[in-house]
Symmetry: D3
Subunit: 336 residues, 6 copies
C-alpha cells in the first residue's frame, strides 16, 4: 500500500484519502471500553489548523505502543491516511514515532502544531508598545502600562484571550488587546473632538491605558499549558477582573500615578464587562470606561461571528446556533 515515500505535509492541508507524513502534537489519550466491553484508547493529534480524534483498538498493532509510550503533550511524526467519518476527522496510522532533533531540518516546528494567531506576535507586540509610547501623554501612567507589560511580556506574548469563547488560541490575548486598543485610539480621538466641552474632559490617556490593561488579569486567571488554558484557583475564586486590577495596584509604578488617574484606570478594568452577570461589579460610570467596554465587546463578538462563519460547512444559509454567540449567523443565500 505504501509504494512511494509519502511527502511531508501539514495535517490541516491533507485531503480525504491522502497519505502523507505529518508532524503533530498529541492532545488526548483516554482509556475506554465499548458498551460491548472492548477496550480501546481514544487519541487525539493536532497541528495548528486541524485536530483528529480516533480510536486505537485493543487489537491494533499500535495498542501497546499507545498504552506504554505515547504521551499527550508530546510531538510525533506520523505516516497515515487522512479520513473523515461521522465522528469527525480521523487519521489511519501507518507509522508513528516521536519527533527528534533532526526533524527540525525537515521543517518540524512545535509552534506549527498549536492553534495560534494569524499574526506575528513580535510584530504585534512592537505595534502595541509603539501605540502606548506614542499615545499616553501622562508619563507615570505610560510607565505603569509599559512596566506591567514588560514584567509579564513572556506570558502576555502567548496567552490566549479565552479558553473557548473568542481568540482562544496562542497569542490571542495580545491580538485581541491590540485590536481593542486601536479601536479605542479612534474612538477616543473621535469623541474627544465631538464633545469638546465635556466636563471633565475625556481623558484619552486613561482610555488607551485602560484598553491596554483591561484583560491583563487573564495572565493570573489562566494556567497556560501546551494545549490552551485552564483556570487557576484564583481565576475560579476571584476572576480576571479583580486579578487585573491587582496587577495595576501592585505595580511599583502605581505609586507615581495621580490617585484620581489610578482610580479611573481601575474603574475601566472593573467595569469593562458592563453587566454584573458578566463579572463587572460596577457598570461603566466614566466616558473612558464606556469606550473601552464597547471596543472590547465588539471585538469579542465580531471574533465569535467570524469563527461561527469559518466553522460552518454545507449549504445551509445559516450557521448552527452552537457557538459562543448562542445564535445562528447568516452565511448568505448560497454559501460556498
Amino acid at each position: 500500500m505504501e509504494t512511494s515515500t509519502p511527502v511531508i505535509r501539514s495535517l490541516s492541508d491533507l485531503l480525504i484519502g491522502e497519505e502523507a507524513d505529518v508532524f503533530v502534537l498529541m492532545t488526548a489519550k483516554e482509556a475506554l471500553t465499548t458498551k460491548q466491553g472492548k477496550p480501546y484508547y481514544k487519541v487525539g493529534f493536532r497541528d495548528a489548523g486541524r485536530e483528529v480524534l480516533f480510536p486505537i483498538w485493543c487489537d491494533s498493532e499500535f495498542f501497546t505502543n499507545c498504552q506504554d509510550d505515547w504521551q499527550p503533550g508530546g510531538f510525533y511524526k506520523i505516516r497515515g491516511v487522512y479520513q473523515e467519518s461521522s465522528y469527525g476527522p480521523q487519521l489511519e496510522i501507518h507509522r508513528i514515532r516521536e519527533v527528534t532533533a533532526a526533524d527540525t531540518s525537515e521543517g518540524f516546528d512545535p509552534s506549527l502544531c498549536i492553534p495560534t494567531t494569524r499574526f506575528d506576535p513580535e510584530e504585534m507586540m512592537r505595534d502595541f508598545l509603539d501605540i502606548l509610547q506614542g499615545n499616553i501623554a501622562n508619563e507615570p501612567l505610560r510607565s505603569l502600562c509599559l512596566q506591567i507589560l514588560e514584567d509579564n511580556r513572556e506570558t502576555f506574548m502567548i496567552c490566549p484571550a479565552a479558553r473557548s469563547n473568542h481568540h482562544a488560541f496562542r497569542s490571542g490575548l495580545l491580538e485581541h488587546v491590540l485590536s481593542v486598543t486601536k479601536t479605542c485610539l479612534y474612538l477616543a480621538e473621535k469623541y474627544d473632538a465631538y464633545y469638546e466641552n465635556l466636563n471633565p474632559p475625556l481623558d484619552r490617556d486613561i482610555v488607551i491605558a485602560g484598553a491596554a490593561l483591561h484583560d491583563i488579569g487573564k495572565l493570573r486567571e489562566y494556567e497556560l499549558g501546551i494545549e490552551g488554558v485552564e483556570y487557576s484557583p484564583a481565576g475560579n475564586l476571584i476572576g480576571h477582573i479583580l486579578l487585573g486590577r491587582d496587577m495595576v495596584r501592585e505595580s511599583p509604578c502605581a505609586a507615581a500615578v495621580d490617585p484620581e488617574h489610578l482610580l479611573r484606570l481601575e474603574h475601566v478594568i472593573v467595569a469593562h464587562q458592563r453587566l454584573p452577570e458578566w463579572g463587572s461589579p460596577k457598570p461603566p460610570m466614566t466616558p473612558e470606561a464606556l469606550l473601552v467596554h464597547y471596543a472590547d465587546d465588539l471585538d469579542a463578538k465580531y471574533a465569535m461571528m467570524a469563527s461561527a462563519l469559518a466553522e460552518a460547512s454545507g449549504e445551509d444559509p445559516m450557521t448552527s446556533h452552537r457557538n459562543p454567540l448562542r445564535q445562528r449567523v447568516y452565511r448568505g443565500n448560497k454559501p460556498r
Copy 2:
C-alpha cells in the same frame, strides 16, 4: 426699578438677578389652582439653552393677558429679571409682547429659541451625503440611500433622534446618524482588513448604507412640532424599526438593488437595537448588522453620559441616577 433700558440678551446667558430683554418661545401654559384654591397659570418660555417655568398668579398684572392672548408655540419679547428658585429657573416678567417682523433686525431668530444641534445642519448634511457618495461602491444601493434621503431631506434635516433619551433636539437625528456612519466607516475598514478571509466577506457598502438608514423610520415614528416630537399612531403601534424598513422597501430605487443586498440591508435596520425588549425582533445575524449596532449603541450611550455630566451641578462627585442611563456618572473627585 427700570432706570436704564436693558440690553437684549439671550435667556440662557442671564445671570441670577440680571434684568434684560429676551426673545423666547412659549412652551407651556396650564390653568391650575393651588391647594388653597388660588388660580394661576403655569407658563414656560425657552430659548435654545434654557427653559423657565413659573406661575402667573391670578392677582398678577399679566393674568388676563396670559389667559386671553399668550399661546404656546408663539414667540415673545420679554423684559424681566432672571431668578433661580427651588422650583428651578424662573423669570420675573416686567414687560411682554409678541415678537414682530421688526424684531428680526434686533437679532430675533426663531431657531435661537429651540434646543438644537451644536453643529451646522447644512454642513452635516453635505458631509453625510459626501460620505455616502464616496463609500457605497454598489450603485443601486447608493442610489437607494441617496434617494430616500433626498425624498425626506426637509424633515431629516430637523428631526430629533429621540423624544428624550439622547440627541433629543432639533437636527439631533442627523447629528447622531452622521456620527454613527463615521464610526461605521472606521469599523468597516478595520474589521474588513482584520478578518480578510471572512466568508462571505464583510460588505462595507451594507455597513455604510445600514448606518445611514438605521433610524430613518423615526421620520414616520414621530410627529414634529415646534417643541420636540410626539409619537405618531404608527410610531406607537408599529415602531420606527419596522417603519424604517418600510421606507427602504417602498422606495422606487429598491427594485434595482440585488435581493440579497436588500435583505442584508433590511436586516441591519431590523436588528440594530439587538435585544427584543429594545424593539429588535431579531438580533444581529450578520457582521454588518453587528457593526452598526455597536456604533449606534455607543453613540447613544455616550451622548447620555455627556448630558448627565453637563446637567450635573454642585460638588457631588457623582451625578444623580435620574438620567436615561439610569445610573450615576462619575464627575471627578472635585467637580467644578
Copy 3:
C-alpha cells in the same frame, strides 16, 4: 420466510413483527461509520402516521442499492417486517423498489406518506372563506383578506404552522388559523356585547381579518419541502411577523382600505405574539389585538398539550417535560 404474498398495509398500522408491503417516503439517508469503523447508512422512511429509522449495514444486501439509488424525497414500495427496538420503530427490509405509476391502482397516494391535518383541507378552506365572507362587513378589508388568501391559496393549503412546535404538519397552518378565527368570532361577539360602550367600539372586522392574517407571514418565513419546512433567509433575518405585515401592505387591495383600519390590522399582526422575546416588537395596544393574541396563544398551547398527551406512553401519570411546553402534563392517575 415469505411463503404467502404479504398484503398492502399502511406503515402506521403495522404491528410488531408483522410483515407487509407498504408505500413510504424516504426521509433520510446519511453515510455513517460505527465507532468501530464499520460503515453503514442510516435511512428513514415514513408514512403519515409513523416514521422508521434504521441502519443499512455495509454487509447488507441492500447497501449498494442504498448507496447508489435511494434518494430522500423518493417514494418506495417496501416489503418488510415491522420492529420496535430501543432506538425506536424500525423496518427489516425484505424487498424494496421505487413506486411506479401503476402503484396508484394499488392505493399509492403520496399524500398518505406525509403527516398531515386530520381534517380535509378543501373543506377547511371553504369553511374559512365562508367565515371571512360572512363576518367582515367592511368591503375593502374583506377584499384584502380574500385577495391575499386567493393569491397564496396553493401554499396556504399545505403549509404547516410551525417547524416543530405545534400544528407542525401539512395544512397545519390552515387548521390553526381556522381554529383561531373561529374562537375570535366567538370572542369578538361576546366582548362587543359585554362592553357595549367601549370607545372606540370593538372593530369586529379587524378581529376577524387579524385572526385570518396573523400568521400569513409564515408563507414567506418557510421554504416548503416534501418533509416539513425550513426557514428561508428572510424568515431567519426578518421573521414572519414583519413578513406577514409586508404581505398586507403590498397587496393591491391595501390602497382601498381606510388607513386607520389598515394600521389597526397591521398592529394585530405585529402584536400577536405579545412579548418582545417571542418576536412582537409591540404588545397588543388595541382590544382587537388582545383578542387575537389570546385566541392564537391558547390554540397553540392546547395543541402542544394534546401532542404531549398523545405521544406519552407507559404508566407514568405525567408526560415527560420534553415537549414544546417544556413542562410535564398530567395524564391521569392510571393512564391507559
Copy 4:
C-alpha cells in the same frame, strides 16, 4: 347665590359650576396641615360614578362640623356646586346634613353611592347558577359548586374581583366569574370537539366547575368594607389561590367527589394564574386548567383595557401607561 331650591341630582351627572342637592357616601377624612402650618381636613365624597376630594379649611364654616361629626362610611345630603380644579373633581359645599330615613322617598339609595357592576347581580347570579346546573353533568361536582356558592351567596353577590386591577367594584367578582364561565363553556365545547381523541378526554365538568370556583378564595382574601376591599391577614399571608382551594376541600360536599376529579379541580384553582410570580405555585398541567387560565386572563386584561380607554380624555391618540396593564392603549387617531 341660592335663589331657587336646587334639584336633587346624582353627583356623577353634575356639570362644572352646576349647583344641586346630592346624596353621597363619605369616603375620606384626613387631618392635615399645609406647609405653611394651616390646618385643614381633606375630605372625600362619592356616588357610584364619581368621587370628589377637597379641603375643608380651618376658617371654613364647616370645619368644626367636619371635625366633630362627619364620619367616613356615613351617607350625607349635600347642597353644593360642582367644580374641577387641577387637583381633580371638587365640591363647594353650601349645606350638608346626614341622610335620614325620610330621604328614601326623595330617591336616596345607598347602593347608588358605590361603584358597582353595570349588570343586575340577581340576574347574573340566576344566569350563573343555571349554567352550572345545566353544564356540570357529574352530580357530586355540581353539588359541590352549588353548595359552595350557596354557602357564600351573600358576599359572593357583592364582592369586587380586585382591589384595583380589574372589576374593582361591587359585584365585580360575580360579573368576572360569570364572564369567564361563559367563555369556558364555549372553549370546552370547541376543544372537546376539535381534539376528540384526547386521552384522557377533556373533562368539561372540570372546566366549568373550575371556572366557577377559580377565584372563590377572594371571599377570604378580602375584607369587605363600604368602600371596596382590604386584604385580610390570611389574604396577605396565604393568598386567594390557596384559600379558594381550602374552601373546596373544606366543603362537606367534597367527600362525595371522585378523588381524581377533586384533584383536577384543585389544580385548576392552583394553576389559574399560570406563573409563579403571579401567585400560581404550579403552571396549568391539564387541558382543563389551560382553558380556565386563558379565559380568566383574557377577561381580566380586556377589562383593564376597557377601563384605560374609558378613563382617558383629551385628544391624545394613546392613553397614559398608568393603568393596570402598565402600557399605553390606542384610542384611535382622533379620539372623541
Copy 5:
C-alpha cells in the same frame, strides 16, 4: 476461575478486579438493542454506597435467567468481579440467586442495600421529639406538631428530603428537618435576645413548630418505593408546600390552636422557599418565616456542596458544575 470460596463483602467496599459475594438490590432492568441490532438487558444493582449498571448480552449464560426471573426491587446474592469502565462501575457476574431467609444469618440486611442517612433514625426521632417537647411552650401548638408527627411517624422515619437535590436518601427528610430545627433553635434564641423590643415579639414557638413542619407536605408529595421516591399526582399538580399546609389544617389538633398562631404557622410553611419560582406563593412576611427560610435554605445548599465535594474525583481543583447547585465548588489547590 473460582478456586477458593470468595468472602462476603459489601459491594461498596470492593476494589477493582476483586471477586466476592455481595448482597444487592436490583434497581433497573431494561430491554435494549444495540445500534447493530444485538439485544441485551441493561441491569442495575446497588447497596447503600454504590450502584453498578451493566449489560447482560443475549449470548450471556444469564440472559434467559435475567429475562424471566430477575425483578427490580428484588434482593440478590451475587458472586462476581468488580470492574470500572468508562461507563462507570460494573460487575462481572459469576453466580447469582435470590436472597433467602437464611441469608440473614450471613449478614444480609435489606437496609444495607439502600442509600440512607449516616445517622440512626430512631435516635434522630427521639432527639427531634425532645426538642419539640422542650421548646414549644404553647401547649396546643406543641400538641399539633407532636400529633402530626405521631400520625405520620412511619413514613416520616424513612422518607428522603428530595428525589435528587439534597438529602435524597432514606430518612433524609428527618435528618434535614432535625438539622433545620436545631439551627432555628439557635437563631430564635439569638434574634429574640438581639431585638428584645420587636413588636410583636418573635414567637419562638412558631419558629420551632414551623421548622419542624415546613417540609411535612413531602410525605404527600412523594410516593415511596424501595428505590427513592416518585412524585404523586397531588405532588405534581399541587406541590408539597400546599400539601403540608393541608396536613396542619386537617389535623384534629388544629382547632385548639389560637387562629393567629395557626395563621403564622401556615405562613411559615407557605413562605419557606421564599421565591415564587421556587414554589412559595408568598415571601416571608414574618420574622418567624424569615428564620425558618434561612435555616432551611442553608441546610439544603450546604448538603449540595458537601455532595459535590464528595462525588468529585481526580486532581482538578474544582468540581464539575453538574450538581444541584449548578456551579463549580472549590476542592483546594491539590485535592486528594
Copy 6:
C-alpha cells in the same frame, strides 16, 4: 407663654405640645421658596432617636439668625414646643443658641444627638476581639484579622453598616459584623460536626476570619460625616467588596498567611453577597463562603424586618412595602 423655666429633656422623649430645652444637632438647612414666592429655610435638628424638619419663614424672628449663623453639623440648645403635623415631627422654636463648653455640665453629649447602636461600642469591640482571639486557631490568619481591625479601630468603632438599608447608624457596622461573626461561630461548629468527613474539611478559622472581615471594605466605601455616610469616589467606582479584599491583601500581615488560606479568605469577601447583581463577581464556591453569606444575609434582612415593624404605626395589620425589603411585613391582626 414661658412662665416657668422648662426642664432639659431629650428631643426624642418630648410629648406633643410639651415645651422643653433640648440639645440637638443641626442636620439640614436649605434655602427654598414656596410656589407663591415666599422664601424660607427648611431646617432639620435631631438627637439620637428623633429628627424634626420644619420651615423658618422669612417673617420669622429667627430668619436672619438662621441665614447668617446656623450651620448643619453644629450643636444647638433650643427651647421650644414639640409638634407633629402631617409633614412629620416639628419644633416650634422659642429660643436657640449654640452649645457651649459649659453645657456639658448640664448633660450635653454630642453622641446623644446621633442615631447610634443600642449597644456599647467598647463592649462590642472587646467581645468581638475576644471571639477572634479565641476562635481563630491559625496564628497568621488571626494576626491578619486583629491587625486590620487595630489599624482601622477608630473608624470601625463608629462606621454605620449602610447608608440606609440596615444598621444605618453609628457603630452599625460593628454591631452587624459582631452579630454575623457570632452566628458563624455557631454554624461553623454545627456544620463541621454534621459533615465530619467533608473533604477538604471545613476551615473554621476561615469562616470566623471571613465573617470578621466580610464588610471591612465599607471603611473605604464610605466617607463618614457627622450625619451618616456618603459614598467615596472609590466606593462608587469600585465598591466595598473589592476595597475590602484590598485591605486584606495590603496588610503587612498577609505575607505570613498561607496562600491557600489567603485565597479562601479573599473568596469569602468576594462572594459574600452571592449574586452578581448584588455586587459579588463570584458566588460562594467554598463551604466557608456559603456560611458567611447566609449569616450575613439573614442578619441584614432581619434588621430590615425589625425596622419595618418598628417604624409602622396605626392599626393596619401589615406595614407598608416602602422599606428596604420592598415588601409588606405582618404586624399581627391587631397591632398596638
